[in-house]
């Protein structure tokens, strides 16, 4: 494993939580109820907290003069390695919940493996994050059930989101070159082995929510290689606005 492999591997994990945290923070103050607003903000806070731990670690490992903010705000679009799923827009609350649910189920499995990493820092971050993400998964699963088995309208809306976002789930289990290199050295984990359990868990909850499992066999990919959807550029122009407009300043 080269150092660059490890850096890219951490980006692959950390960029997911940064971008999803950014998406969730767009909602703050605009949710369907105060309670859901508070819960979504909580999740965003957890995810951004995790982001900071990962980026601080990368900064410390590789570039003494770089900070977590340089990593978060000053890369170009192709350098972000998050999956396509997390950058998808907040089309409506159904999309917010389904995106969260599809990610949470994966995220928890990933962290449960990552806590056994031979890299002590990654293992420690994972251990701390497991507690937070278990809550996220409970929150999103509960809402999948509420929306799926709530009213006719909510059923329809959440089914629409499930159908639309399903095509982004397969990418979660793709291995990049960096994933393979870090796996071989015991630092990284093999996401391929999580796949069966993932779909089993997702399907169980969807069925309980009286939702149909989509039958698509065509999936989207690219985020892990930094080839993102058109949504990503707009998300980054918000995210990076201050750092780009006022370079090299302390805030």
């Amino acid at each position: 494993m080269k150092k660059e492999n490890l850096k890219q591997y951490i980006y692959g994990i950390a960029d997911n939580v940064l971008i999803l945290g950014q998406r969730l923070s767009e909602l703050c103050g605009h949710g369907p109820s105060l309670e859901t607003d508070i819960a979504c903000t909580n999740i965003a806070l957890d995810l951004l907290g995790q982001t900071r731990s990962y980026y601080q670690y990368v900064a410390q490992l590789f570039d003494e003069d770089k900070t977590e903010d340089d990593i978060a705000f000053l890369r170009t679009e192709r350098q972000y390695k998050n999956v396509l799923l997390v950058e998808q827009p907040n089309t409506h609350f159904g999309y917010v919940i389904v995106r969260q649910f599809f990610f949470d189920v994966f995220h928890l499995q990933l962290l449960q493996q990552l806590q056994n990493s031979t890299d002590e820092t990654l293992s420690a971050i994972a251990k701390k994050a497991i507690k937070e993400v278990s809550y996220h998964k409970r929150f999103s699963s509960d809402w999948i059930k509420r929306l799926g088995d709530g009213t006719e309208e909510s059923h329809q809306k959440v089914q629409e989101a499930v159908n639309d976002l399903w095509r982004f789930t397969d990418e979660l289990f793709h291995m990049t070159e960096d994933d393979i290199a870090t796996l071989e050295s015991g630092v990284g984990i093999d996401v391929r082995v999580l796949k069966d359990k993932y779909y089993q868990q997702v399907k169980e909850i969807l069925q309980e929510a009286t939702l149909d499992i989509p039958e698509t066999s065509w999936f989207q990919k690219g985020g892990k290689q930094g080839i993102h959807s058109e949504h990503m550029g707009y998300l980054l122009s918000d995210l990076q606005y201050m750092q780009r407009t006022y370079p090299d300043m302390k805030w």
Partner: protein, 318 residues
């Protein structure tokens, strides 16, 4: 109840307040006390949730991860304040939905300060420092107000607000110590937020219609003008400390009164904003209405699901 009995109850009630006893939801209270409290507590709750909007405007664009997380947490605190203030208000026999209805129809007011736009990052610092600063001065006396649920809610609110105020001041201090561009951004924000912050302490005593009654019920301990003086005296040295200039040519220390003299407040502007003609009145209200209307199907689903679960439990029990 005869008129005499009511009069008697009122007397006992006023005596309890004079003895600093707390009035609790199940206690007898004059109708006017109940109505005044519903008005004030709900206005306060509405201000918290409308106040989430101008600051929420900068969460996605915050300049660093640390600031982003702090701002998110702050706006979340405001949602929390809204939540327990609505709960305190509900103890007076009004539902949260009714209160929302009053906000959305324009019948209920919220703090006018949130009708000003946040156009630069420095505005986030200025809001924390000045707006939360003025809010604390308004709110600290409420921790010992006569209505129990309100007083208890305010104790928690005030603790968090003073944290927000320090955080806002720290943003301003960082900017003021930064590059010339950053310092200019901070000064510009102070210029725009200073006067509206002074207006937050309410109309001058001569114009204030509720003061006398509110003093009696300990909804107020000091008059608007006293509070305003306190705010100015506290804030001017803070601005000096970080090298920013208060945008008031008439501002001058008055040795005799032991406080600052200050220029005339543009009360026309204040009343225009109260009447709905501020720069963002329309945007704030429509953001709230929009969130509420767009969220209806979600709330309906949650209710329907809860009912189904309850019915299921009942069936299983039979």
């Amino acid at each position: 109840m005869s008129e005499k009995e009511v009069k008697n109850l009122e007397e006992i009630f006023e005596q309890r307040i004079a003895r600093d006893e707390k009035i609790e939801p199940k206690d007898w209270m004059p109708e006017k006390y109940r109505k005044t409290h519903i008005r004030q507590i709900s206005q306060h709750a509405h201000s918290e949730i409308v106040g989430m909007l101008p600051e929420g405007n900068w969460i996605t664009r915050a300049p660093s991860l640390r600031r982003k997380v702090a701002l998110l947490a702050k706006v979340q605190d405001e949602a929390g304040h809204g939540l327990y203030l609505y709960s305190a208000c509900e103890t007076l026999g009004v539902s949260r939905d009714e209160l929302y209805e009053q906000l959305h129809s324009g019948k209920a007011k919220y703090s006018s300060i949130f009708n000003y736009p946040t156009i630069t990052w420095a505005d986030i610092g200025a809001i924390g420092w000045l707006v939360d600063g003025a809010a604390i001065i308004n709110q600290v006396p409420l921790c010992s107000t006569s209505y129990g649920p309100y007083a208890r809610a305010m104790i928690r609110v005030c603790k968090e607000e003073s944290f927000h105020q320090r955080q806002g001041f720290e943003i301003m201090m960082t900017l003021a110590k930064g590059t010339p561009e950053q310092k200019a951004m901070a000064q510009d924000a102070l210029n725009r937020w200073w006067w509206p912050s002074l207006m937050m302490l309410g109309p001058t005593d001569a114009e204030s219609v509720h003061t006398a009654q509110s003093m009696k019920w300990k909804l107020k301990r000091k008059t608007n003008d006293e509070l305003r003086q306190q705010f100015i005296d506290q804030t001017v040295p803070q601005a000096e400390l970080i090298g920013l200039t208060i945008p008031d040519e008439d501002l001058k220390w008055n040795e005799e009164k032991g406080g600052y003299d200050f220029g005339e407040i543009d009360w026309d502007e204040f009343w225009q904003v109260v009447k709905g003609h501020g720069p963002c009145n329309k945007e704030r209200l429509s953001a709230r209405v929009n969130a509420w209307e767009k969220g209806e199907w979600v709330r309906d689903a949650a209710m329907a699901y809860a009912k189904k679960q309850e019915d299921k439990k009942l069936r299983e029990a039979i």
